[in-house]
Amino acid sequence: MDIGKTISDLRSGKNMSQQTLADLLFVSRDLVSKWENGTRTPDYPTVERIAVIFGVSPDTIIDKNDVIFEELSECVADIGGVSREELTKLVNVFLKDVKERSADVFLERYYHLKTTAEIAAEYRIGENHVRSMLSKLRKRLKKHIKESLQ
């Protein structure tokens, strides 16, 4: 799914300028332009706001899994030549090593494919906190994978 083209099509369909969309989202026009030409990707909460503006479902704009893949790509971007089985083992070790609650949140996001908002609601913590936890976990996983492969 081409997120940029979808946003561009939705915007054009409403005869809306990039500046107007940017204003509605409290972002710069430059960022909207980058979304549309594919050099940047909006995060999921922003996609949800875009969906509200155009009266469509967020799934029309982005596949949830694309967001998941994008996030996970941070962990393995500069890693190659690892089999799936080996990678699974490394993730196993990593999840057993981190705190149980962190492992739960990681699995909620990347195994059960829940949104950060859903996780935040279930754990009664802030969504920013969930994002922060996941970001730290991804960095730790990346480090763990790199160090294990050295």
Binding site: L107, Y110, Y123
Partner: protein, 445 residues
């Protein structure tokens, strides 16, 4: 590699991890209701290393008699224990002797007001030991060398409920439940299956590396106050044993750190806590606030009890500020009832822009008196009641979130019709204009 490959690898992870994860609803509900429902999962039985705290006390009394402080302490039974953030769950093994513990659940935290009578250093000359129960929910156990000389032995958390005290030793991952009695001149602590010990209140308090007379006017100003950075986020309480409790309320986690205190300057330092640049954190009382700083980073913590006593100071009339220019314009309205509203602001019509959300909070000025001429700088404390997570990056609104999001006080500085809202760091601030008109916040869409 790309994210899809890692995603595929995650789909193959161990079943026990997934089982735990799918079972997580139990833990979620336990977090959600403050821990009232318990289904303590049984973890590996640790038969040898779990030591009940009161066994420590009695063990130590035996140790004293043998004059061998390093002797291995006696063990007391088998149970499993698991710690979730600040909740501790104790689960008995399949042994009826310990079955009742399987229903036990304890939440360690600051003692309630009713429990404060137990706070202080208590000594048992008979057993040659002392136990200090701090208002921050920590305890320290000491060996008593003589009437005024103590040797640190162990430390942990305690909670009191229904006449019982539960003491938890993090290093040992063990806990003890004992009957607790309070009498006019002493307390008694009685472990299961053993006799009670009596402790009398000590007439000294322990500070830093020494002992101080309780009656000294040179008393430490930091201790036993739940210094609060943000009602929702952080609380620091200094105990009398150079140990401070660091609560992160958003994550329900608790950290313990050590501190030192210079009684001459009444300054506190944190030997195991440094800023990013390696600079040491120091703290002192300034104008009723505990101000801790490292390099150019400064945090002001307040004493909630004192804040409650303070008369709330607000602007005497509705005050409207707005930001304009290249940034996304935003406005903020301070009302005399202590509430404020923030949102996207249209200066042309002097009103919040329609079709955008507005967000609410409460604010407080620190000095009502300085409002008489309405000039100069003063502190303003903003507490959002709405989440500012909506705020986008790169806009003035986002900068505003960064300014006040962590509960720091802002400096409100007026210069003619311009106002600067800035953090104590003079480099961080937003320039706003004062509006002469009132606005009525529109309904959020």
């Amino acid at each position: 590699m790309n994210g899809i490959e890692l995603f595929n690898a995650i789909t193959g992870i161990d079943g026990d991890l997934i089982e735990k994860s799918t079972d997580v609803n139990e833990r979620k509900s336990r977090f959600a209701n403050g821990g009232k429902t318990v289904k303590a999962k049984r973890i590996a039985v640790r038969a040898a290393s779990l030591v009940l705290t009161l066994s420590v006390i009695f063990g130590v009394s035996a140790v004293i008699r043998r004059s061998s402080p390093d002797t291995e302490l006696p063990l007391d039974g088998f149970f499993t224990l698991k710690v979730y953030a600040r909740d501790v769950y104790i689960d008995g093994v399949d042994d009826e002797k310990y079955a009742k513990r399987s229903e036990a659940e304890y939440i360690f935290g600051r003692p309630s007001a009713d429990d404060l009578k137990y706070a202080g250093l208590w000594i048992s000359s008979k057993a040659g030991c002392g136990i200090e129960l701090n208002e921050n929910g920590t305890f320290v156990f000491y060996l008593l060398k003589d009437a005024s000389s103590y040797k640190y032995r162990s430390a942990g958390y305690f909670s009191i409920s229904d006449g019982k005290i539960t003491m938890f030793l993090p290093e040992e991952e063990s806990a003890a439940i004992c009957e607790l009695g309070y009498f006019v001149s002493y307390i008694s602590i009685k472990p299961e299956n053993d006799g009670a010990m009596s402790f009398v209140k000590s007439n000294v308090v322990l500070v830093s590396a020494g002992i101080e007379d309780k009656t000294s006017t040179d008393a430490m100003d930091f201790r036993n106050i739940p210094w609060t950075l943000d009602e929702e986020k952080l609380e620091i309480t200094f105990g009398g044993n150079r140990s401070l409790a660091f609560w992160r309320k958003d994550t329900l986690t608790r950290e313990d750190r050590k501190y030192d205190w210079d009684r001459l300057t009444n300054t506190v330092t944190f030997p195991d806590w440094h800023g990013k640049d390696g600079a040491e954190w120091t703290g002192r009382i300034e104008n009723g606030y505990l101000v801790i700083s490292s390099g150019n980073k400064t945090l002001s913590l307040y004493d909630p009890a004192k804040v409650r006593e303070m008369k709330k100071a607000t602007f005497p009339f509705e005050t409207v500020l707005y930001a304009s220019g290249d940034d996304t314009p935003f406005g903020i309205v301070f009302r005399s009832d202590g509430t404020y509203t923030i949102g996207r602001f249209d200066a042309d019509v002097n009103d919040f822009s329609v079709n955008y959300g507005v967000y609410e909070g409460i604010y407080e000025l620190d000095e009502a008196s300085s409002l008489s001429d309405y000039d100069g700088a003063q502190m303003i404390f903003l507490v959002p009641t709405d989440k500012y997570e909506f705020l986008p990056r790169g806009s003035a609104l986002r900068r505003f979130e960064e300014l006040c999001g962590d509960g720091e006080k802002l400096i409100y500085e007026r210069d003619g019709d311009n106002v600067v809202l800035r953090s104590p760091d003079p480099e961080i601030g937003i320039v706003l204009c004062r509006s002469q008109y009132s606005v009525v916040p529109p309904q959020a869409y």
